[in-house]
């Protein structure tokens, strides 16, 4: 890894954003479809102890972890010895976090899911 480049750091914070965004999108999906919600819950029950009691939240956590860690792995391999334009990467990060935050605000995801 080349620490003279910012690539490894960019991979770390971009993947954090992808994790948050994955959680937000999966949550919108569970509000839109009962079948998807049940499937997400089933995924959570595959490995989280007590997931039956935790509900679909367990699956949403699982998808957040997968989205975060998988994107970190991919981005790390892409960027470990190079770097992208830092201002651009930072702008993408901030927009992504902003979108994720907006999507987890209940009136927004309820509206998107058609629950008025």
């Amino acid at each position: 890894m080349n620490l003279e480049k910012k690539g490894a750091a960019q991979a770390a914070f971009l993947s954090a954003m992808f994790g948050c965004l994955t959680l937000a999108l999966v949550n919108v999906g569970t509000e839109m479809s009962e079948a998807f919600k049940n499937w997400v819950h089933w995924v959570g029950k595959l490995w989280i102890p007590g997931a039956q009691g935790i509900g679909p939240y367990s699956g949403k956590e699982t998808f957040m972890l997968v989205g975060w860690l998988l994107s970190w792995l991919v981005l790390y391999r892409l960027l470990r010895n190079r770097e992208w334009n830092n201002a651009l990467v930072l702008a993408i990060f901030l927009v992504g976090i902003g979108v994720a935050t907006t999507l987890i605000w209940p009136p927004v995801f309820m509206h998107l899911a058609g629950h008025h």
């Binding site: 948050c20 007590g50 935790i54 957040m64 975060w68």
Partner: protein, 197 residues
């Protein structure tokens, strides 16, 4: 002469550590024999998991507040001891993980039949549907943000002091982590006051 000075320094450090350990043991002993632990934890069947969730959230409140101060120093370019920052960031991320872990465990009685979720949905649905739901998702955002900050601090170490863009990125990650923590902590405390699990 230098060897003697080094040995004296070591002795002083050992004395200070011994005094601190003794004070902790005395304070812990007094607490153990005098504090009503059952009152401290509460009478709920879920008191242990609530206590640990609150304990780690309390630790996180301290470490993340220090993180905010360090973020300010990183942002303004004040030189920082990176070993100190690195250790603090690990404690920060670990406290965050443990808070979420115990929060998950506590979520089971919250959702259970007759639990606070049912109470809120019946009496004041917006408390669960808006504030609790936002809290439970926002709280999860803190983990990847704080882990990313920790990773960058450990990976780049002393190089961070001379790298303004990365210093600012770490400051931003710590600040965002603080924001989501504060939202989750504030709403969590408010919900607990309204109806404990």
């Amino acid at each position: 002469m230098n060897l003697f000075a080094g040995s004296e320094e070591k002795t002083n450090r050992a004395i200070i550590i011994a005094i601190v350990v003794m004070m902790v043991v005395v304070a812990g002993g007094v607490l153990l024999v005098s504090a009503p632990a059952s009152r401290l934890l509460g009478e709920s069947a879920y008191s242990i998991r609530s206590a640990f969730h609150g304990l780690f959230a309390g630790v996180l409140m301290v470490t993340i507040t220090i993180g905010m101060y360090q973020a300010f120093r990183l942002w303004t370019g004040i030189p920082i001891n990176m070993k100190e920052l690195g250790m603090g960031s690990v404690v920060n991320a670990a406290a965050c993980f443990l808070t979420i872990l115990f929060g998950n465990w506590l979520y089971i009685p919250y959702r259970a039949q007759g639990g606070p979720r049912f109470y809120f949905l019946e009496k004041a649905p917006e408390i669960h549907k808006i504030f609790f739901e936002f809290k439970e998702f926002g709280a999860l955002f803190t983990l990847p943000l704080l882990v990313a900050a920790t990773y960058i601090i450990w990976q780049y170490g002393e190089k961070l002091n001379a790298n303004k863009p990365l210093r600012m990125v770490v400051a931003l990650l710590l600040t965002l982590g603080f924001f989501y923590f504060l939202v989750a902590f504030g709403l969590g405390a408010a919900i607990t006051k309204l109806k404990a699990a």
